[in-house]
Symmetry: C2
Subunit: 344 residues, 2 copies
DNA sequence: TTGTATGCGTTATCAT
DNA sequence: ATGATAACGCATACAA
C-alpha cells in the first residue's frame, strides 16, 4: 500500500516549456507540431524539455482553438455483441495509429438513446462519428444535423441510404445467396427461412439473397416457410412451428446464429437429426458456432475488417476532406461445418 | 441520396443564447447549470432558447475552464473478450446516467501500449480512469503518475496492490475453491489444474483457492498435475500431456473456458468420456460454454456488475472526492452443467 | 438576481 | 526563425 504523498502536480504546459527555454509559447507550439519554420536545434531542445517535464498536450485546449480534437465517436446498438465489439476492435486498431481516440456509446437499440449519444458526442467535440443504426431508428434528423454541423459521419453495417454518407457494409445479399445455394447443392430442397424482417437493411438483403438463390435454382419461394425470428427463443419456437406437423422444411437458413441455436435445440428435443434430416445454417460466425453439437455452419462477416474500413474511410474525410462515398461491400464467406452437410 | 445543401452551421454557444435574450453569457451559463442565484423565469427562457437553437454545450471549453470534462477513460487488455466488453457495457450504463461518456482504449496485453493509452487519456483530459492491467505490466509508474496528477484511478479485475486506488475484483479465491470443491464432492479425486501462472492476481488467486479446497479435503496438491495454459491450444496440449500415459487426473479444473475447450477437444479425440471418465470445469461463463458437448460447467463472474461497481466507485470519487478504497470482492457463482457431473 | 472581467492551454495571424 | 497578441467557449470571482 503506497503511502507516498500525493503531491498533485499541475500538468506541464507549453508555457512551462517556453519559460524553461526562455522562448515564446508559440515557438514551442510550432516546434512540437513540426513546423518547417522552426530550426532543428530549437525543435530538439523543445522535445528534450517536453520529455523532461513529461509534457502531455491538452486536447481540450487544442480543440477549442483549432477545431480538431483527435477523438472519434462511435455509436453501436450494443457493445456486448461479438459483431460490434470485434468491429470496434478493428476501428480502434486503425485509428490509434493515427493518434485518435475512440469515444464509444451504445444506443441499446433505442432511438432516443441514439439521439442522446449523438448530442453527447457532439458535446465532446469529436472530429467525426461512426454509427451503426439502432433497429428502432426510422427518422434520421439527428444524423442529418451531424452532417449539417460539418462533422464527418460514416455509417456501417446497419445503414440507411437517406443520408449522404459513406456506408461500410457486408455483402448481405451474397451471404444469403451463398448460404441457401450451399444448402441446395447439398440436396436440401425445402428451405425454411428464419429472417429478421424487412426493416433493417442487413436482414432484408440476406432475405433477398435467399430468394434469388431459390429462383436461380428454379424453386418457388414459399411464404409459409418464412418466419421472423431474432432470438434463440424465437428460433426454437419458429422451428417448432415449421417442423411440428411432419411436413416441414428439410433445411432451415437463419439470419442469425442465435436463432440457429434455437433451431438446434428444438431439433434435439424433437429427435430430428441434424444434418441428416434437417440442415441448419446460421449467420455471423459467433464464437459458439464452432462448438455446438453438431457444429454450426454459418456466414463469416469479417467484422474487424468492416471496422477497419469504416475507420479508414473516416480518416480520409478527416485528413483529406475526401468526399468519396463509394465503398465496395465486404465479402462474406460461408463457413461449412457439420450442421449443413449430409453424410454421403 | 440526399442532395440537400450542406450548410455548415456553427454550433450555437451560450453567447448566441445570451444575445437573443439580451442577457449576459454568464447569466446563461449559470441558468444552464441550474444555479440557485438565477430566477426561475430566466432559467425557463434560457432553456427555451437553448432548445430553439439546438444548443449543445462545448465540453472542451468547459473542461478548459473548470477542469471537468464529463469523460471517463477506460483501459482494458482486449476489447473483443466477452468479459471486458460485458464489463464495459456495465460501466457505460452506469456512467451515462450521470452524463459521462467513455473513452475506451485497449492495451493489447502490452505494457507500452498501456502507457500510450494512459498518456492519450490524460491528453484527452478525462476526469478519471478505470483500468484492468495488461498481463505484461509489472511497473506501475505510469499509473502512479496518473494519481500524482490528481486524476482519480480505479482498478478492476486485473489489479495490483502497489497502487493506492480502489480495486474492484471478483472473489477469485472463492471461485477456484468452489470449483474444485464441487469436483471433489462429485467423487473426483485426482484433480488436474490448468492455471494462468502466478503473475496475474486473478489466476494466482484462483490457484490458491484450488489449493485450499484440496487441503480442506485432506488431499495433498500435486505439482505434477498443475500446468500453465492460457489458450484453447494450450488446453489441448496440456490435457494431452496430463492424460496420455493413462495415469492422469480424473478431473481437470481450468482457469479459463478457452483452455477447458481445448481439454474437451482432446478428450473427444482420445475417446475419453466426459464427465464419466474425466470431469472438466472452466472459468468465466463464456457464451459458448452452454453449447459445448457436453455443456461446460464454469464459474460466472458477473462481469457487468463488476463494471457497474467500478464505475460507481469512480463516480463517488468524482462527485464526493470520496477516498474510500474498501470494496468487497464480487462473489462468483458456480454454474454446474454436464461436464462435471457423473451420472449416478 | 444579474453583469463585468478574466483566464483555462492552445494555435493562428500578425509582426519583426 | 521567432515573438507578441488575440481568440476559441465557458465558468467563476467579484461587482453592482
Amino acid at each position: 500500500m503506497s503511502n507516498k504523498q500525493e503531491r498533485v502536480e499541475r500538468q506541464a504546459t507549453i508555457i512551462d516549456i517556453a519559460n524553461k527555454l526562455k522562448k515564446d509559447p508559440s515557438t514551442v507550439s510550432r516546434a512540437l507540431s513540426g513546423s518547417p519554420r522552426i530550426s532543428d536545434r530549437t525543435k530538439e531542445e523543445v522535445a528534450r524539455v517536453a520529455a523532461e517535464l513529461n509534457y502531455i498536450p491538452n486536447r481540450a485546449a487544442a480543440r477549442l482553438r483549432s477545431g480538431r480534437s483527435k477523438v472519434v465517436g462511435v455509436i453501436v446498438p450494443r457493445l456486448n455483441h461479438h459483431f460490434f465489439s470485434e468491429a470496434i476492435y478493428g476501428m480502434e486498431a486503425k485509428l490509434k495509429r493515427e493518434g485518435y481516440n475512440l469515444i464509444i456509446c451504445q444506443s441499446n437499440e433505442n432511438y432516443v438513446e441514439e439521439c442522446d449519444a449523438v448530442r453527447s458526442l457532439l458535446s465532446s467535440q469529436v472530429d467525426g462519428i461512426i454509427i451503426s443504426l439502432s433497429s428502432q431508428t426510422k427518422n434520421f434528423e439527428h444524423l442529418q444535423y451531424v452532417l449539417d454541423s460539418g462533422v464527418p459521419l460514416v455509417q456501417f453495417d446497419r445503414v440507411t441510404d437517406e443520408l449522404n454518407t459513406p456506408r461500410i457494409v457486408n455483402d448481405n445479399f451474397e451471404g444469403g445467396y451463398k448460404a441457401v445455394n450451399h444448402l441446395l447443392s447439398g440436396g436440401y430442397r425445402k428451405i425454411g427461412v428464419l429472417h429478421g424482417g424487412m426493416v433493417t437493411n442487413v436482414y432484408r438483403e440476406r432475405l433477398e439473397g435467399v430468394h434469388q438463390a431459390l429462383e436461380d435454382a428454379g424453386i418457388k419461394s414459399n411464404k409459409a416457410l418464412e418466419l421472423e425470428a431474432f432470438t434463440e427463443k424465437d428460433g426454437y419456437n419458429a422451428a417448432k412451428k415449421l417442423l411440428a406437423n411432419g411436413n416441414g422444411p428439410d433445411a432451415i437458413f437463419c439470419c442469425s446464429d442465435h436463432t440457429a441455436l434455437g433451431v438446434l435445440e428444438y431439433a434435439k428435443e424433437a429427435n430430428i437429426s441434424v444434418p441428416s434430416e434437417l440442415g441448419v445454417l446460421g449467420y455471423a460466425n459467433e464464437l459458439f458456432t464452432r462448438v455446438t453439437n453438431p457444429s454450426l455452419s454459418t456466414v463469416d462477416q469479417q467484422c474487424d475488417k468492416l471496422g477497419r474500413q469504416a475507420a479508414s474511410v473516416l480518416l480520409k474525410r478527416l485528413t483529406f476532406k475526401s468526399m468519396l462515398n463509394v465503398e465496395e461491400p465486404i465479402k462474406s464467406s460461408l463457413i461449412i461445418r457439420d450442421s449443413s452437410v449430409r453424410a454421403i
